[in-house]
Subunit: 364 residues, 2 copies
């Protein structure tokens, strides 16, 4: 009977609101931001798939949460007559939900974990149909809480690492895309690091890129910074290098959609270019992501699938064509930053991983 | 009685159309592009001033041409009773026209040259009133031809230099901002190089950045490429690095607003970042500009002033706010690319200058 009030109060901005008792999920429609604060009801897997596909919700952790909760809600009212039927139903819904976006790994990881969990319950003769259903739903609901806690740990580890580099001054941070409350279950990853720097009294200023072509920086990060009363300034993606030359930027912190075993990181298009510029200007470059973003099955970033989006998402803004009619577009949604350019480290809830003799993740 | 059919036929896109016999000038309204192809009649200095001021025409060379032709047309029908009266009339009109865009250097240079020419004719007793008027008008009309001829030389020198680097394949070129027919009297600088590569049968494809925040690439360069039936593809400024990694880009070619004596080059914001990325990916980086853009009085680019534009030019597109209301912006209009990153060369109508022992312009 726990209402997720804890999550709802993490920040001023409530992007995912879930009532556990009523199995009721509403999400902030990110396509309408910053102009309108409009909520959408997610009543089943199909609603969740559609919201992810059309980018009404985006950000790798948020996609996983909304996708899994959509399935959980549908499962809660599904008429199923056997454990076998439940397992098949659940596995199919989880597979369906992962097809909405290919690059972000979190939902794939969650689907794999939950299908295995369901298979285990199926074999467990001490677990009946009702109990199996409850356990699966409860497992998904727990993910939601864990995600916020993990983000807070990411924020703390990242902020402390950045503070250790400062010479008494407060930090000027550059970030890209949106990695905050809106992209996660709450608090944020890269934006969580920024939030924690502010909590420590060590944040001077945040610069955020507008993040073409979908303008998540201009629309969403700028909105979150304003909501949180963090001193933020918006720049175009093309201005990053001049910014680094003219202003003393202490660190770049970005999120991740998938991190390979060697540290190569897929993230929003433009991340790779910022990392090249950071290297050129000797600015430490950090990736902040939950450990579930790390795909140890991939030895490097070459095999991470890069999603290409429709031309119109680049050629139109708010339904108005901004490019010459007839021009073709090349519209990759992500790029891969090689581990060698991630000079600050990869910040997770388990700590900050530093590149060490060409290996990023050395576990002891 | 020469009609400038030569200029008019340079490209399919006729941005400045001048009939010498009829003293009739019409220009393409760049504020309406790419949605409408609308021409404006320029009948006098005031019409020209207004078109420049409101950015219906932009690009430093194009501004100079339109301004001077507006004065020439007005001069052609002016009732003037003496050479003294003509000189005063002409000098005043030229001074007036330069006030439209005080920062654009080319029109100031042209005005200075033409006023001195008028003063010389005033003192020349072998030149009567009618002849003086004809000579001034003819001088302005010659500028128009010279500008196009210089661009064609830039195109030829640049294309030949790029072809010399190819291994039999055709070139894939990346360009930034707009440097074509619309920004010059015709043909273009960096886009002139691309045009000439096509004329040589050596052009495979052009990628153009959208060029935030004013979208000259998406609106104007994309439009010119379509008009010329050049195979062009639009990308966001943030996609340059991934493009260089995924596609074999043979050269970057951009224009210039001002080049210092050591080769440091001020150009549209984002140029510096592209040059850093080109260096990282070993893609030759070229600047294409008329020799008059080189300011030998400046030893390096540090003293080139960087213009900052209003926040709203970044936060709005077509009158619609695209950034979260209340966010502040940092909006530099230009940046300076250090000569060391201009690895291809600086292409002028006098030839391609290559960096040589830290010196760019070594004259023999």
């Amino acid at each position: 009977n726990v209402n997720f009030s804890k999550m709802e109060n993490v920040t001023n901005l409530q992007s995912i609101s879930y009532n556990q008792e009523k199995k009721f999920l509403k999400i902030l429609d990110q396509l309408e931001l910053p102009h309108k604060t409009k909520y959408l009801d997610i009543k089943n897997a199909k609603d969740a798939w559609k919201a992810v596909k059309t980018m009404q919700v985006r950000g790798a952790p948020a996609i996983a949460i909304v996708g899994c909760l959509g399935v959980a809600i549908e499962l809660s009212t599904a008429k199923l007559s056997s454990k076998e039927e439940l397992h098949t139903f659940f596995a199919e819904k989880m597979e369906y939900i992962t097809t909405a976006r290919p690059t972000a790994v979190n939902i794939h990881g969650a689907a794999k974990f939950l299908k295995e969990y369901s298979a285990k319950l199926l074999e467990d003769t001490s677990c009946n149909l009702t109990s199996m259903k409850e356990k699966i739903i409860s497992q998904i609901e727990t993910m939601l809480e864990t995600d916020v806690d993990d983000n807070k740990r990411i924020g703390k580890f990242g902020a402390e690492d950045i503070v250790s580099r400062l010479n008494g001054e407060n930090a000027k941070i550059l970030t890209h895309c949106n990695t905050g409350e809106l992209a996660t279950a709450g608090y944020g990853t890269a934006l969580g690091v920024i939030r924690h720097l502010r909590e420590l009294g060590k944040l001077e200023k945040v610069y955020c890129t507008e993040t073409r072509p979908y303008n998540q920086g201009a629309r969403l990060t700028a909105y979150e910074l304003l909501q949180e009363k963090i001193d933020g300034t918006l720049i175009c993606d093309s201005m990053v290098s001049l910014l680094m030359k003219m202003k003393k930027i202490d660190a770049v912190v970005v999120g991740a959609d998938r991190v390979a075993g060697n540290g190569d990181t897929a993230n929003k298009i433009g991340t790779y270019q910022i990392a090249i510029s950071a290297k050129y200007h000797n600015v430490p470059f950090y990736v902040a992501a939950p450990f579930s973003s790390i795909d140890l099955s991939l030895s490097n970033g070459d095999s991470i699938p890069i999603e290409f989006r429709p031309d119109d998402e680049l050629a139109y803004i708010n339904g108005i064509r901004i490019a010459a009619p007839g021009i073709s577009c090349w519209n990759p949604s992500f790029d891969v930053t090689p581990a060698a350019l991630i000079t600050g480290g990869i910040i997770t809830e388990k700590g900050v991983f530093k590149q060490n003799a060409d290996e990023y993740f050395v576990f002891e």
